[in-house]
């Protein structure tokens, strides 16, 4: 058990630091080294599928300790993260050629991977909070990599938003330790198992209210990372300035860490039965629906390509949260499916955007007319990904949306039951609006100015193609993924 | 009110006392202040002297062996007045000496002016 933990968390961190050594100044040798590390990490992820159980690594103080746990949710997100980091890693070898001080990028790239693995494996609230903070700290240099004025201030803003979110989470942690008891994650929720009589008795009303406030704080806090409404403002500023591979990882995987954190808190601490049909759930649902709408409308209006994708990931991640907020098995499976789908699709889209910027020499969405002819493969992948995202049946996106809608209709929390699917459909239309324009402009429009745009290199195209095929496969045979997440019915 | 007319000595003494007190306070001229002081003291001694007087009795010098209480007035106030007068004399002498000294130096008797001159003189 300890070996796997070191392998997953400590190994990427150490190798990350090693990248600074002079021996890795040469690009080729360093790319090989990072590729091997990412591969190893993916193998470790596969290994830990055989593991089960949890243990305490270190006792910080009487009720604070570093605890790690291997369970279904953790494994699922580990796999997701490992896969995405590998793909984007390969993509970045070629993309980073036109960026400066590359070793520093890869140092923080691997460190972030280590922290992310830590978040997935966290066994209690404190460890989750610790790695959550480390991840936001280590991913901040990725954002300010280009070191322009905007990137530095965007990085500062990103850092402060996530630290504020984390501190709200810490507030939730304090409330929980005082009123809830031990913060170790237990499937089905600590409160739900031990203190079920809480919902009934009146004189414990004060304690119940405190716990509800704690839950809401944690949700809004960790929601910051997932781009939920009140603290979403950092995403549209941070992603455009970061290099494409960084923003791919950021919106594709690190937002999913936020989702995981909320899932841990809601399902493994409080328990869905405790939070079901309380004001916390309704407020949460309201926030999600607003984010979905706002995200897609802003994305529709946005001209800069990367900013548009950033807004779209704001709204798509709220889809996943909508599933979490449903508090029943159906919507939970929908959420996890959509998490997988969205990370794959968003990575493809960002990689496509990266290659357009690098080889198409344009950042704006309205200036890519006719590029499709020059860069056919990139635009093909983009079209496949956008179709998946909108939810066209054969692709992966459709199944998750279907689960989400059915889950919310079944649970029908008063008027949210029907309002949720309506909002999802409207935003799906908007998504179509802002994604199809890319493919249409790319392919059908003629290019006014003669530009020396050319197709991206093999290293950039390979990961996009692999991911597109994955989207297709999962779309066709969804039960591959649902087997991975059958731990869900133990939770809700 | 009638009592005021019965003790008319004390009334007069008190009025002179207040006038003396205020001239001493009010006036800017040193000599007038000293006069005010003497007013005040004489008024007090008048007040004190008439305290001892008893109707129809004579001064307390024993004449032909008569030593009964009813024959003579109360000797204590007159003793005190005697002491008081000497005090006023000596204080007035001291005040006048000071006034002469100040006049030689500042050639004015107005205390406010003297103060201003002494402040200017020093810096």
């Amino acid at each position: 058990m300890l070996g796997l933990i070191t392998g997953l968390i400590v190994f990427p961190m150490i190798t990350g630091v090693l990248c600074l050594l002079p021996v890795f100044q040469d690009d080729r040798r360093r790319n090989l080294f990072t590729a091997s590390v990412l591969g190893l990490n993916f193998i470790f992820v596969l290994l830990c599928f055989a593991q089960e159980g949890s243990f305490d690594l270190l006792h910080l103080s009487d009720h604070l300790s570093l605890r790690f746990m291997f369970d279904g949710a953790g494994r699922f997100f580990l796999l997701l993260a490992g896969l995405m980091f590998l793909m984007v890693g390969i993509y970045s070898f070629e993309y980073m050629t036109h960026e400066h001080n590359r070793p520093r990028f890869y140092v923080f790239y691997l460190l972030t991977l280590g922290a992310l693995n830590g978040v997935c494996l966290a066994g209690n609230y404190m460890t989750l909070y610790c790695f959550f903070e480390l991840m936001s700290l280590l991913s901040m240099p990725l954002v300010l990599h280009s070191q322009t004025e905007e990137s530095i201030s965007a990085a500062k803003k990103y850092l402060l938003y996530s630290v504020f979110g984390a501190s709200l989470g810490l507030g939730g942690f304090f409330l929980f330790t005082v009123y809830g008891g031990s913060t170790n994650f237990v499937t089905g929720g600590v409160i739900a198992n031990e203190l079920h009589q809480l919902q009934l008795s009146s004189e414990l009303l004060f304690q119940r209210n405190m716990l509800l406030i704690g839950a809401f704080l944690a949700i809004v806090g960790f929601g910051a990372k997932a781009g939920m409404m009140p603290l979403h403002a950092w995403l549209p500023t941070a992603h455009p300035v970061a290099p494409a591979c960084a923003s791919a990882v950021l919106s594709g995987v690190i937002t999913k860490a936020g989702v995981l954190a909320i899932m841990r808190v809601v399902y493994f601490l409080y328990g869905s039965s405790f939070l079901c049909s309380t004001w916390v759930q309704y407020a949460w649902l309201m926030l999600i629906l607003i984010t979905v709408l706002v995200g897609s409308t802003l994305a529709y209006k946005e001209k800069i390509l990367k900013k548009r994708l950033a807004y779209s990931s704001v709204s798509q991640v709220s889809y996943i949260l909508f599933g979490l907020a449903g508090l029943n098995t159906w919507s939970l499976t929908g959420a996890l499916l959509h998490a997988a789908a969205h990370s794959m699709i968003k990575d493809v889209l960002f990689m496509g955007a990266g290659s357009i910027i690098m080889h198409g020499h344009t950042e704006r969405a309205d200036k890519i007319d006719g590029l499709g002819l020059k860069m056919p493969v990139t635009f093909a992948c983009i079209t496949v990904a956008s179709l998946g995202l909108i939810g066209i049946p054969p692709l992966f996106g459709y199944i998750s949306k279907w689960y989400l809608c059915t889950g919310s209709l079944i649970a029908h929390h008063n008027f949210f039951g029907w309002l949720g699917p309506v909002v999802l459909l409207i935003s799906a239309l908007l998504t179509a609006g802002y994604l199809f324009t890319l493919t249409i402009n790319g392919y059908l429009k003629k290019e006014e100015t003669e530009s020396d745009a050319h197709e991206a290199g093999f290293l950039m195209l390979a990961p996009m193609l692999i991911l597109c095929t994955l989207i297709l496969i999962c779309g066709l045979f969804p039960n591959l993924v649902t087997q991975l997440i059958e731990f869900v019915n133990t939770l809700a | 009110m009638i009592q005021l007319f019965i003790n008319y000595y004390e009334t007069v003494a008190v009025i002179i006392f207040s006038i003396g007190f205020t001239t001493m306070l009010l006036n800017r001229n040193l000599i007038k202040k000293i006069i005010g002081f003497n007013f005040m003291d004489c008024a007090i001694y008048l007040f004190l002297a008439c305290k001892g007087y008893v109707e129809g009795r004579k001064a307390p010098i024993i004449i032909d062996g008569v030593q009964s209480m009813e024959a003579y007035i109360n000797p204590v106030p007159s003793g005190l007045v005697l002491t008081g007068i000497v005090v006023s004399v000596s204080v007035t002498a001291f005040l006048l000496a000071l006034t002469i000294r100040l006049y030689y130096r500042y050639h004015t008797l107005d205390i406010e002016e003297i103060i201003v001159l002494s402040k200017k003189e020093e810096d």
């Binding site: - | 003291d41 000071l98 003297i114």
Partner: protein
């Protein structure tokens, strides 16, 4: 009658005749004789104090063959002997402290007259402390007034001293005028001049309610008269000029002792003649309390604005008198004990500050301005240390004398527990801060190196160093081992009735 019991009377006669003897002696012989007189009075009072403490109750000394209401009488208790020994001791030390200044300021032919004034002044102070008869009190108040005005006037070469003397004399005469008319009215309604008899008849009058209005007017006259003489707040305008421009030893004696003599007489009249319950009924203590609070605040504020070290110390005396009147204003026994304690503490500290100021004037060309005495503390180390000790004790830092009296004042205020407590506590806190506001900058000026190097005009005389050492010793003694003195004062107050 034990021999020791005669010492108080003998000390008064000795000092009186000492004055007369000094007038005929030469300057330096007069100095020696005056030292002899003061030391013998000090030793006498200490012995009497020991005797009275041993017997534990005060005794009455009949002057002449006839008992009290007819002849004169002095009453000797623990508190009186403490005050007597304090006054004579501090007088001796102040004289030693400012000796070479006296000979510089006065003419050669007239320096012996200075010692006449000093011994007569000490005689009047002793008489004020011991007397048990109001009119004797008035006579010695008059001696005190003339002697203290003469002490200020001794530097008649400087115009400012003359002006200050005139203003001081006129204000004092106003005070004694009111005091005398108070005695007369009191004599008229009670028929007695002796304190015990007056007390009995006043209590009878108070019960029956006859002469109620004259009685309250008498109380007002006494308190206003003695307040004017002891420079209480509204009537303090003469004090800075007088104490600021007198010679060093005169200002020490004036601010250390003369003001306290009158306050002690006021305490005696309030406590013994009229009785605290009547005073309480007459609200006189509230008036004094308010005057005290104002004195503390405004005295310190004026001291902050002063540019001249001596005038600053004079204004600080106004503030300290405010502390004492605050103690009396509380009206309780603890309040009066705290007031007496503060009398002792201020008598120890202020003369030391004035002597130190004299030392600074020596080393900075005789000027008192802050601009001239910069760095004087470094040039004359002992005066510097004395000034620091004095300042610390005035601010009320533990280990120094000031702290003890502040402690007892505050506890007295807290025990009183009415609106007065809050006002008293606020006043104490604010005035401590204000004290710091003018003592600390003064110390900063004294201890920063001056721009131009000052000529060292006068090697410090041995007498002055001795007096400064004794003063500092006294301050620490009072600061650290004050318990016996405090017990004696409380016992004295209890016996004072």
């Amino acid at each position: 009658m034990n021999l020791v019991q005669n010492f108080p009377f003998l000390s008064i006669i000795l000092t009186l005749s000492g004055g007369v003897v000094c007038s005929v002696l030469k300057g330096s012989n007069a100095r020696k004789y005056c030292y002899f007189v003061l030391t013998s009075v000090l030793v006498g009072s200490l012995l009497t104090m020991a005797y009275v403490l041993s017997t534990g109750e005060s005794y009455v000394y009949m002057m002449g063959h006839f008992p009290a209401p007819w002849g004169n009488e002095i009453r000797v208790g623990v508190l009186e002997t403490i005050m007597a020994s304090l006054f004579s001791g501090i007088m001796l030390l102040s004289l030693m402290g400012g000796m070479h200044h006296i000979f510089e300021d006065t003419e050669d032919t007239k320096s012996n007259l200075y010692f006449t004034l000093v011994s007569l002044l000490s005689a009047s102070l002793l008489a004020l402390v011991y007397t048990n008869d109001l009119f004797t009190g008035y006579v010695f108040v008059e001696i005190n007034t003339i002697a203290s005005c003469a002490l200020v006037m001794i530097r008649y070469r400087s115009g400012k001293a003359l002006v200050a003397t005139v203003r001081y004399l006129f204000m004092s005469l106003l005070g004694s005028g009111l005091f005398l008319i108070g005695i007369t009215i009191l004599y008229d309604i009670t028929g007695h001049l002796l304190m015990e008899n007056i007390a009995q008849s006043v209590s009878v009058l108070f019960q029956t309610g006859t002469y109620a209005f004259p009685l309250s007017v008498v109380v007002v006259l006494f308190s206003m008269g003695l307040a004017i003489k002891s420079a209480c707040f509204p009537f303090h305008t003469w004090l800075p000029g007088a104490h600021g421009n007198a010679t060093v030893s005169s200002s020490s004696i004036l601010s250390g002792l003369v003001l306290k003599g009158y306050i002690f007489l006021l305490i005696k009249i309030f406590y013994r003649v009229i009785g605290m319950n009547i005073i309480f009924h007459e609200r006189a203590t509230n008036v004094l309390f308010i005057f005290g609070v104002f004195a503390m605040i405004i005295g310190s504020i004026k001291a902050i604005q002063e540019k001249d070290l001596k005038r600053m110390l004079a204004y600080s005396s106004v503030a300290q008198i405010g502390y004492i009147f605050l103690g009396i204003g509380l009206g309780t026994e603890a309040g009066i004990a705290a007031a007496c304690l503060h009398i002792i503490v201020h008598a120890i500290t202020k003369p030391m500050l004035f002597t130190a100021c004299g030392g600074f004037m020596d080393v900075s060309g005789g000027s008192k301005k802050f601009s001239d005495i910069q760095g004087a503390g470094l040039r004359d180390k002992l005066s510097g240390i004395a000034f620091i000790v004095g300042a610390m004790s005035m601010i009320g830092i533990p280990f120094f004398a000031g702290f003890i009296s502040k402690v007892y004042l505050t506890t007295a205020a807290i025990e009183y527990s009415s609106i007065k407590t809050v006002v008293a506590l606020a006043a104490l806190a604010i005035s401590t801060l204000l004290n710091a506001c003018y003592y600390i900058p003064a110390m900063l000026v004294l201890f920063t190196h001056p721009k131009t190097e000052k000529v060292h005009t006068h090697p410090r005389s041995k007498e002055m160093s001795l007096s400064l050492y004794i003063f500092i010793g006294l301050n620490f003694l009072m600061g650290c081992f004050s318990q016996p003195i405090v017990n004696a004062v409380i016992q004295g107050i209890a016996m004072f009735r």
